[in-house]
């Protein structure tokens, strides 16, 4: 029977090719627009470290007080001052923690003739690497001892290793950073988490570049390597230079801690509260403690890492899908009801409603299948076309993969069947007697 329905559907579709093409194209457009924008949305709202994002936290301390806040806001600053960051490091209350800041020092390749390079990276503490699960190709991070001794050691990306050493194991090799010699202790494997969750403050989440260089925090400070990220001040630093910046109330240091269970989280919350209270007692803060301890997903949400444009686009594209579906419902309805006479004859000859259902849903399904295949093609074109339209740092994240393809097919089929449901219902409700009489 199914084969017969297919044949009937095929004939019916062939009878009005314009209408058929219109329905197929409408479904394809609606589905592909939605799936293309969804692929972008999925890319920017993904969790960069899903296996432990709920155990990574960003502490915030209110160093400026209520006076300097924008009207209506109660949020403390997004980064820490040098004073607070180093205090939190010294007191070491989390399982793992790291203050960090963005650096962009020069790297001078060994051998003559080559021009110096600029390498973006971060100055971090040794606990940073296990905390973010950075994968190593050669060697590993440095030790807590290296942190304390401000050892001239460095971890480089595989990209920089390729550029400087042709990709061989460079652990133990010297590296000239900003005119001073460092020793390479580790080479990272391909690692470029997007969004750059450990430094959202300076990257807004998505960046084109990779982090090529990591050196010990205290070492970087001692070597006067400038902050390459944002420095925000409520008042100008009282003394000039890097020394002045260190003692100022300017915030420029992102901070990351790992807390493994809820007990540790509440203990750390209490600790921050106590810390702020102490600062108040010492006269540094003249206001109630106002700390935050957001876990990584909440932090990314708070920082609005996913660009709003992608959400608006997704909503508008879904609207397009709805319009396309309504369009298809209307056309199918017209098409099916035009065949009232045929339905009347079939019913009169003994076909049950079920048979009518099956026949017309087959027809709708056929449109759905062709529409979804076409939609798949359009989605492919759309995702590739995204690179022309969107900023590069976001466009490269939108990818076609199996789950996107499967979802496209599913959405298209479901929409076609949904679009076919009401017209089919109406068709099956046709009274045979009325139709036969009028013909």
């Amino acid at each position: 029977m199914f084969g017969y329905y297919l044949q009937l559907a095929w004939r019916s579709l062939k009878r009005s090719p314009g209408l058929t093409v219109l329905m197929i194209v409408a479904i394809a457009f609606g589905v592909s627009a939605s799936m293309t924008t969804y692929s972008v949305f999925r890319a920017v709202s993904g969790d960069p470290i899903p296996w432990k994002s709920s155990r990574l936290f960003v502490p915030q301390i209110d160093v400026w007080g209520p006076r300097s806040r924008r009207k209506g806001s109660v949020e403390p600053t997004e980064a820490l001052t040098y004073t607070d960051a180093t205090a939190l490091m010294r007191e070491h209350r989390a399982k793992w923690q790291s203050a960090l800041y963005a650096i962009s020092p020069s790297v001078v390749p060994a051998g003559s003739g080559a021009h110096p390079l600029k390498s973006d990276g971060h100055a971090v503490y040794s606990e940073f690497f296990p905390m973010v699960d950075a994968p190593f190709l050669f060697g590993g991070g440095w030790s807590a001892d290296d942190d304390r001794q401000r050892a001239p050691v460095a971890v480089i990306s595989s990209k920089l290793n390729q550029k400087l050493f042709g990709g061989k194991n460079s652990v133990g090799f010297p590296l000239n950073i900003d005119g001073k010699e460092y020793r390479i202790v580790g080479v990272l494997d391909n690692w470029n988490p997007q969004p750059r969750f450990y430094d959202v403050v300076n990257t807004n989440g998505f960046t084109n570049g990779t982090d090529d260089l990591f050196i010990p925090f205290e070492r970087s400070i001692e070597a006067n390597i400038d902050n390459d990220g944002n420095t925000n001040c409520a008042e100008p630093a009282k003394e000039p230079g890097f020394a002045g910046l260190k003692r100022s109330s300017c915030v420029w240091i992102p901070f990351l801690v790992q807390l493994d269970d809820s007990a540790a989280v509440s203990a750390y919350r209490d600790y921050l509260q106590g810390y702020a209270n102490n600062q108040r007692k010492e006269g540094r803060f003249a206001w109630e403690p106002n700390n935050r301890l957001r876990d990584m997903p909440a932090w990314l949400e708070y920082q609005q890492v996913a660009p709003r444009d992608t959400k608006v686009s997704l909503m508008v594209a879904l609207g397009l899908l709805v319009v396309c579906l309504i369009n298809t419902v209307g056309l199918l309805l017209a098409k099916f009801l035009r065949r009232s006479g045929e339905i009347g004859v079939r019913r009169a000859l003994g076909a049950p409603r079920r048979a009518i259902y099956a026949q017309f849903l087959t027809e709708a399904g056929m449109i759905g299948i062709v529409g979804s295949v076409l939609g798949l093609v359009f989605t492919g074109v759309g995702v590739l076309g995204v690179g022309w339209v969107l900023p590069r740092n976001i466009a490269v994240l939108a990818k076609i993969d199996l789950s996107l393809l499967a979802m496209t097919l599913l959405v298209a089929l479901i929409s076609a069947v949904l679009a076919g449901a009401y017209p089919t219902f109406r068709a099956s409700m046709i009274q045979p007697a009325l139709q036969l009489k009028s013909n």
């Binding site: 409408a26 008042e235 508008v316 609207g319 309504i326 209307g330 900023p391």
Partner: protein, 395 residues
Amino acid sequence: MSLHPIFAALRKHKSGVILITLQIAFTLAIVCNALFIIGKRIDNVGRPTGLEESDLFLVSQQWVGAPSGDEPKGAKILENMQLEDLATLRNLPDVAGVTPINSLPLYPSAWSGSVGGRPGNGSIEVPDASIARVTYYFVDDKALDVLGAKLVDGQFFHAQDVMSLQARAQSRPSAAVITRSLQEKLFPGQSAVGKPIYIDGATLPVLVTGVVDRLQGPGWATDFAWNSVILPVRRASSFTRYAVRAKPGRIEAAMKAVPSALYATNPMRVLTDESIKSFADIRASAYEEDIGMAIVMSVVCVIMLAVTTAGIVGLTSFWVGQRYRQIGVRRALGARKIDILRYFQVENLAISIGGACLGIVLAFALNILLMHYFDLDRMPLSWVVVGVAIVLLLG
């Protein structure tokens, strides 16, 4: 002609009419909002920065192993290196002018702060309307011609105004030139020339010597885009930027000549592919998102209008086909072709108007939703009128 038979006929196929009305309404709602978004983005991109944008490019470079600009001795060395670079660039055959600068309009990096017309209290914060958030540009006396900014009042800096400062020093500049919109904010209705301004909550003033027509801040400074302060300061830092104006039409040659000339002056420096950027590129990357969004919205609008039009055509032709017999009867009873045509036109118009009415309501509902979740502005009525016009035309 009375409308009664039309409505009677429409009642016969209620579901079809409802579907078309719904489709028109949704299309109108979405197209209105999309057009509104497109319009806003295009407005954004079209704003002039206040620069003479062609033939202008930015050079960013960093010296390797240079002394720290935080100490007087290091600062002196860095100043000399910078002057050497400036001389090198000014001597290039295709270059018309060069100024040291910390950033250009629309470039993401910026130095921002606050400026008031009364002595400050040491704090940068912006407590009320008498203090404005601003973007600073640190330049030398050649900057006006290099940037191509239009001086509308007073005068620009002289060579002796230009101070050399340590990298992070907070010393008081000798003079300031501000934008017209900042003048309007700090000294409404008056000329700012000769008046004191107080920078970053300073208690000591800097005198305004001139006013430029406009000079935009970085792309992200949406709420203080036009409040800029130009200061005659060269910063001694191992990282420097130079704005270069090429001779007319010679920008490519000038950009190409820069790296080798700078390396010849001092090879111990970093120049990357990103180091030399034409202003056209800076503008393009600043508005990448806006243009992208406008394109996405346009594509969606075009598809949606096409689908809706095709849908209406399909359904109408089906209805006409269904009513051949009825048309035949009417024609036989003496109706002219024009009467039949008019009948269907009025029918379509009635449906379109119904859809448009519902669509207007939906359009504003959607706008309110977008405003709530995405900080979009309220949509002015004119966009809806445009949308309604389009939809009625389609009908």
